[in-house]
Amino acid sequence: MNGLEGVLVLGAGVAALAAVPFVPSVIEMFRPRDAGELNVPQDYVKNPRFFAESFRKKIEPYVADVIDGPLPHVGQLQLRKPESITVDRRFALTPKTGLQGIAVSIGDATFAADTGAHDLWIKGDADIGDRFRVWSLAVDGELTLGERCRVTRWIDCATSAIVGDESTLGLSASAAEMLLLGNGVRFQRLYGQPIVVKWSSADRLTPEPTEALLDDHAFTDRDGLSFPHDALIENDVVCEGGLRIGRRMVVRGNLKAAGNVRVLSHALIEGNIVSRSNVEIAEECTVLGDIFAEGDVSLGRDVTVGAYAANKSVYSAGKIVLGRGVRVHGAVIAEHGGIVEGLSDSARVASPEPPAVALPPSQPRAVAPLRVRTLPLAAPPPAELPGVPPPAPIPESSAARHRLPGAALGLGAVLGAGLVLFRMWRRRR
């Protein structure tokens, strides 16, 4: 083999190797195995009681077929795999007993302490004792769940439900009417109209703001904002740092902060609260809009979210802590789990209270011009309101730390390498 032949063979080899990745491409092009569009469920709609409604829909035809026959009925139902199913007029379990497979009670059911079931549908009322274990539970009547019960997947109640202390509610707990939670209850998703943490006792104090503040524009600032007590905000506030709302304040707009949002006691927020970090709402505050946090959320004693017939949500990409007497009309969603701390007055809002604002009587309670979003100013804005301390430092959640670590270093390295390459090229010349 001479030199030219060698080059040709080498070239052919390289070409053959380079063509290898294209072989499956060409086969897929002419004999496609996956030419369809990505599947997008066109009929999907959000339904907080989806699990239970889907379960009932699957079981209902079978129950309708056997309900007029002799009961109890034991049979097999074909779902994804064959499942045993028991249908009876009522269940009354004694301690240390349980039900296997799918169980349906046409009437009421009573479960003593230390009982269990797998998938349970009670079409009447359910009175369930302590330490009950269940995979999923649907109740058409009223539900009373004892203490330290454990739900693996979901529970749903078509009327109202009471959940005992220290229970764990699995992925979802929903009720068409009130969902009453005991102390120490752990959850992931809650839905009720409303969700109530027992017990609310204190008389609520209605905030009466004395003077209007920031009533014309939305504001934004990088270093955080702290508003005085008893003030009124008429519009949206957008803040690149932390945000503190004073006691008894009224906010007519929406709040957004890249840092922590901290609402001190007895405030009324008529709009939504959005934070890229944590949200802490102190005792006896009312939020009429949604709360959305990329960090954790804590709602202190007697906090109310939403209103009758106006369902709202408390969403946290982290954890949620609910204090005593909390009332949420709608849904509570905690991606990393939530807990009821009903014995505490202030849930997790335990950091020291910022000092009260003491403005001289003659000083008007207005703020220096901040950066108005719709009309950017030439001069940089002050970092905080005059006479108002900055927000107390609260640890940022990991969700708020969006940086590009090492990217600058990498970019510098690449540019440096390019420069070296160029200089070597020049030297060769």
Partner: protein, 422 residues
Amino acid sequence: MVVALQIYVVSIVAVLVCYTIRHWIFTFRRVSGTQRPFYQDIFDNVPPAVSVIVPMHDEERVAPRIMDALLRCDYPRELLEIIPVDDHSSDGTAAILAEYAGRYECIEPLFRRGLDEPRGKAYALNDALKRARNDCVLIFDADYEPGANVLRDLAMAFIDPQVGAVMGRVIPRNTRAGFLPRMLSLERSGGYQVDQQARFDLDLMVQYGGTVGGFRRSLVLEMGGFSPEILAEDTDLTYRLYSRGWRVAYANRSECYEEVPETWDARFRQLRRWARGHNAAMVRNFWPVMRSRYLTFWQKADGVMLLGCYAVPPLLASAWLANLLLILAAAVPIVESLIISLLVVMYGAFGNFAPVFEVGAAELLDGTSDRLRLLPLMFLLFLFNSWAISMGALDALGDVVRNRLPIWEKTARFATGTVSEG
């Protein structure tokens, strides 16, 4: 001269390396990072009142489909207003819209036929915005088919007072129509599942895409509406919002079927129009972005790279030309030069235009596998895209030099794609 050419070639390589690094960061973020939550999990039975605008020009083949899809959406009717805009259609579009308006109270079509009403998407949107009653406006192209939850998911973004616009994800419907739609489906996956979502995760510049999305009406009107001089009104709006302190939210789960071009000619015209508009938007928004006090360094860097993405192919072509000149002038060693040229081509083919690793990561995230076999053929798409985009860039240059107003040209519709059962 030779030194200048050498510096130019190395500079272009550096630019391409920067783009590649950017794509790598996005891909790693999506594969290994946590997805930032969107507002879709919020359950709110009183969502914001919305006006849905659907610009249409000769859309009789697809108009009933989108009207039916919008009517199927899970949204309180009393909070929903649908404004299909018949923009000088010469087919049966107007009759179809009139029929729907007679049947459904929430549909209020806008008929643009007057000689004093010039045709074009920007004009149509501006007129519809004046008609709309709600501040929250959602836009769909006529060939789109939103799922039942899309309106609600998109509208919930506006609970955030910093969100000026929102963007959903586009999924090609007519992938069975041939090779090109399948390739475009791959490209879209990379662009949305990885690129857009990573930018949202990292709080960089999410691009509002002009459809399957929306904005605050008051903001757009305050900024003077959409400019007919800019064919890429969506890109222009994105930058105008960001440079004023607003943000664009990205809803990866708000997926909506669309029809992608089935012929190379239709795709070429579409891409050429995008490049023309995007480059015009770049000229208009570069300095406002750089000067904006509301943007961080990384947001500006990403914004500039996003603005410049349609300028890269002509730059690349010019670098090849410069390299060729250097070779002819015997100013560079041929072997090294060819290696560098090859590297430049590889960067361009696999490091830009929804590059291979982004598409691969997107398909993995979407849970598909067999379609990944088509990935090496992205190389062909790169060459085609480079050609179309370079022509669009020349058009944009021509617009500036001749001071002419670009004419909006609608992408051809095929209406062959039907979503398969299940």
